[in-house]
């Protein structure tokens, strides 16, 4: 399956062409093709084991590509060692050399290449300034906080002036608040440098906030590629629909009754019907699933004609900024997200209305209709 992240402006910066990755008898990735646009921030998003790290490492040269090719800037780098690919990588664990100072860590690649001390110090200082690490140049990693260590890891990558930055879940070792802060810094870094960045994460929030293009991976294949809003509004399949967005989308079993002019009506369990926009010519040879996001369900009075569902409120979660309701309906349990000061009580019977443009239908195979 081939998906492109091109905007149509010239050759892609990084391209994986029909790559397969096998470990002995286990095939992790099969015939996958992927392009990354120059200067873009591309996220490889997916759950554990989906192959996102493997893909990143293949681009880096840390994993051999069993079959297929990898191109960076139109040069075939499939057999080129990592050091010569003009890439730099930030590891999940940062991999900072504990016995070296921050300066030595940052300048390590220069020192390995035999650059004179003066050059090493200059470049390290330059990078430290960008990342606000000047004060820490002579400290050891053990003396730094998590956020500072991460910046040193980025610095070590920066100093090589790479063509492509690779990030392997760099924020997962940080606590929640720090994560938000570092996300901002990464976004700013990308805006400043405009270098191509490929970012692996399992956290859809990170992907949504940082990336211009997200590649969603599922068990070694690409599920969908698109901008964050594309994935949010037009998920190509149930996997993407469920993965993106928090709280995640509601899914209800349904039967396709008819599909006319891009609008389908489905029969829900419990007798109600609903309508959804679908592609022309969409067909289903089996039961379908109706998907609607919690934020797209509106509370109405149970007797309201527009109510697609009625049910009893089971649990109310108040976050302050929003309220999350768990509602039992004949069609299934639904999660609804509403305003922070929504008035609702457990046991109350409510009605839920939805807009057919915000309703998704997924066929038996999971693909969107």
């Amino acid at each position: 399956m081939s998906e492109s992240t091109k905007n149509g402006n010239g050759a892609p910066h990084v391209e994986l062409r029909r790559v397969t990755k096998r470990y002995g008898t286990v095939t992790a990735i099969s015939d996958l093709s992927l392009t990354v646009e120059k200067g873009s921030f591309t996220a490889l998003l997916g759950p554990s084991g989906c192959g996102k790290s493997t893909l990143l490492r293949m681009i880096a040269g840390l994993e051999e590509i069993t079959a297929g090719q990898c191109f960076i800037d139109s040069v075939d780098v499939t057999d080129v060692p990592p050091a010569q690919r003009r890439i730099a990588m930030v590891f999940q664990s940062y991999a900072l050399y504990p016995h070296m100072t921050v300066r030595q860590n940052i300048a390590f690649s220069l020192s390995v290449a035999g650059a004179p001390r003066k050059v090493q110090d200059e470049r390290a200082l330059e990078v430290a300034r960008i990342l606000q690490l000047e004060a820490y140049l002579d400290r050891r990693p053990a003396e730094l906080s998590g956020g500072q260590r991460q910046r040193v890891a980025i610095g070590r990558a920066l100093v090589r002036k790479p063509e492509v930055f690779l990030f392997d879940e760099p924020l997962s070792n940080l606590d929640a608040k720090l994560r938000v802060q570092m996300r901002l810094e990464l976004a700013k870094l990308h805006a400043d440098l405009r270098t191509t960045m490929i970012y692996v994460t399992h956290d859809q929030t990170e992907a949504m906030t940082l990336a211009d293009r997200i590649v969603v991976l599922d068990k070694g294949t690409i599920s969908q590629v698109g901008s964050p809003l594309e994935l949010y509004n037009h998920p190509a399949n149930k996997f993407v629909a469920a993965f993106i967005g928090s709280p995640s989308m509601n899914f209800l079993a349904a039967d396709l009754a008819a599909a006319i002019d891009g609008v389908a009506s489905v029969a829900l369990q419990g007798g109600r019907t609903a309508r959804a926009r679908v592609r022309t010519g969409a067909k289903a040879d089996g039961p379908v699933e109706l998907g609607v996001r919690p934020e797209h369900l509106a509370l109405v009075s149970p007797s309201d004609a527009t109510a697609a569902f009625t049910g009893a409120v089971v649990i109310v979660e108040r976050l302050g900024s929003a309220t999350i309701l768990y509602i039992d309906t004949p069609a299934g349990q639904l999660i609804v997200q509403g305003e922070g000061n929504l008035s609702a009580k457990p046991g109350e019977t409510v009605g839920l209305a939805l807009n057919e443009t915000n309703v998704h239908l997924f066929g038996p195979s999971g693909a969107a209709l």
């Binding site: 002995g24 286990v26 840390l62 051999e64 080129v80 060692p81």
Partner: protein, 306 residues
């Protein structure tokens, strides 16, 4: 290399230039290969080969088939050596292991500098060269002026006793010296093992009303068993190779009566100039060690698993 092996070795199937890797490996392995080839592989093979010849220490010899082994079998001195070695092992390894555990239990209760000092008292002998140990104990047990004679005389009709010249006392005395010398090593290992046992287990047992002895039997002993086996195995293999102390203390006396296996090899090779025979004896020693240690390890491990 399959994925499991690659992952278990912590390597990805990383892109490497094979040729440069081989060259690097060759350079890094070269010292090892040379040393092991010349000083281990070749000597081991040569030993096996020599044991089937009648060679003197230096120089070639003729093929002699199993002659050397028949000679060993019928040589009384050889059986004495084997027996003495085993006798010595029994005398030194078992008490040394058990005593070390007891000492470790005691030392583990101490804290701070007192623990360090006491530990050093037990461990310092281990650092001493064997000849120094020989001198110290030769002096302590000296027939004429040794301080130990003051303790022995009352049991010997008021007379001094030459410990190392009294054949039945020789091995026990050397075993005692060896235990004094090496106990610290065992104590160290036991202490490390004891420290791994969480104190919470003891606290829970105390709350359940277990007496100290019950705590030892039911908690300490089973949990420390792997260390006990380890210590015992190490000492067993070590003492089967005994030479230094026995040789030193036997000097000037009836060396043959208290001979041990390595000593036998030494005598045949360097005093009787029988290289082939000595090699055969070496081979026997090697096999003895392998068999005994494997047997012992399996037995003790099986007992522990029970």
């Amino acid at each position: 290399m399959d994925r499991r092996e690659a992952l278990s070795r912590g390597l990805g199937t990383m892109l490497r230039s094979k040729r440069s890797e081989y060259v690097t490996a060759a350079v890094l392995m070269a010292p090892f290969v040379v040393i092991y080839g010349v000083l281990f592989a070749y000597p081991t093979i040569k030993m096996v080969q020599l044991s089937f010849t009648n060679a003197p220490l230096i120089g070639p010899g003729k093929w002699a088939g199993l002659d050397n082994f028949w000679r060993l079998a019928s040589d009384r001195l050889f059986s004495v050596a084997i027996w003495n070695t085993i006798y010595f092992v029994i005398l030194s390894v078992i008490p040394s292991t058990l005593l070390a555990l007891v000492v470790a239990l005691g030392v583990n209760r101490l804290k701070g500098w007192m623990q360090s000092v006491v530990l050093a008292a037990f461990f310092l002998p281990y650092i001493l060269p064997v000849s120094v140990v020989f001198r110290i104990w030769g002096w302590m047990l000296d027939k004429d002026f040794g301080i130990a004679q003051d303790a022995i005389a009352p049991f010997n009709n008021g007379q001094h006793l030459s410990i190392f010249r009294t054949i039945p006392l020789f091995m026990p005395a050397v075993a005692l010296v060896t235990i004094w010398w090496l106990l610290g090593f065992n104590v160290l290992l036991f202490i490390a093992g004891l420290r791994k046992i969480s104190s919470e287990i003891y606290e829970a047992a105390s709350l359940d009303g277990a007496s100290r002895w019950a705590q030892f039997r039911r908690i300490t002993w089973p949990l420390i068993w792997p260390v006990t086996v380890l210590v015992f195995t190490i000492q067993l293999i070590l003492q089967l190779k005994i030479f230094d102390q026995v040789y030193l203390f036997a000097q000037g006396g009836r060396v043959d009566a208290t001979m041990v296996m390595v000593q036998y090899i030494f005598k045949q090779a360097f005093q009787m100039n029988r290289g082939g025979l000595a090699s055969a004896a070496s081979l026997v020693l090697f096999l003895l060690i392998v068999v005994l240690s494997v047997l012992e390890f399996q037995l003790l491990r099986a007992r522990g698993a029970r």
